[in-house]
Subunit: 188 residues, 2 copies
Amino acid sequence: MRKGLLFVLSGPSGVGKGTVCKALQKKTTDLTYSVSVTTRQPRLGEVDGVNYFFRSREQFLDMIENDELLEYAEYVGNYYGTPRDFVEKTLAEGKDILLEIEVQGALMVKEKFPEGIFIFLTPPSLEELKDRIRGRGTENDSVIDHRMNVAVEEIALMQHYDYAVVNDEIDLACQRIESIIIAEHCKI
Amino acid sequence: MRKGLLFVLSGPSGVGKGTVCKALQKKTTDLTYSVSVTTRQPRLGEVDGVNYFFRSREQFLDMIENDELLEYAEYVGNYYGTPRDFVEKTLAEGKDILLEIEVQGALMVKEKFPEGIFIFLTPPSLEELKDRIRGRGTENDSVIDHRMNVAVEEIALMQHYDYAVVNDEIDLACQRIESIIIAEHCKI
């Protein structure tokens, strides 16, 4: 059986990765979405192995030690990561898998899994990205400026990716990603 | 302005290149189809520069001499070729161009234009290809065997291409080619 392909969808914070991913999930049934490992407490209704793999901090540190994570990061005191065995088992079953992760994490995956296909979701313009970050509402100007600076640095890392997909309209962005998936399966 | 991309659609004789190309032409308006140069006489209703560029044998040989053809071949006493200037002008206008040509011609284009994107149309199986060649009706068994041997040799050249598209259903084949075009435009 032919192995599945690993697609990594990334891009600057605020570009709409999560929204595109959800829209894609509604349209495309042939794609498995990676389940992350985390050390944070499960919220009401969250199921281990479905929403996340819930692990203790000690277990998580062991996973790092044993190279069981394709990437990981700490965020507000909790660890989040992508388990290598889940990804590899899914691929071995001939299923494609999609990871939706931050830019730094994607570059970690690229080191450990260079045969992955790396898609960078870009805003139509920096102005548009600023509007989207501002649109979240609660942040003051200095926070927005900081986020914009981070985004500009992240966009500079686009060169390490295989594809750039402009998120001008969610449907169009989804169509481009689906096209990339079909095309990659036709590659010789 | 961003330059257009050159797509080359090829594959063994009998696989259905022409049919797929016509179906694609009906669906996709953003693609310019290359106009070939030929030394054969125009048929009733054929227009120079639309169906073909009609040239004398002497003019054609000059074009070969001056490297004005991306590929050419002789077929039943007439020359057929792809004019380089038409392709380059179209690309410079930012338009994608599609060449539908034989396998040997495609490999000539690859030498002269390695930045092209080479798509190999394959039959679902050799059995299926034999049925299609047989389906044309007029040929006897030894002609069919000869054509099959040529096809098998041509399929062995697939490795020099970027993509393989199975022509199981015309609509699916078109969708794959359209996906390849969209994906190639997203490439970094």
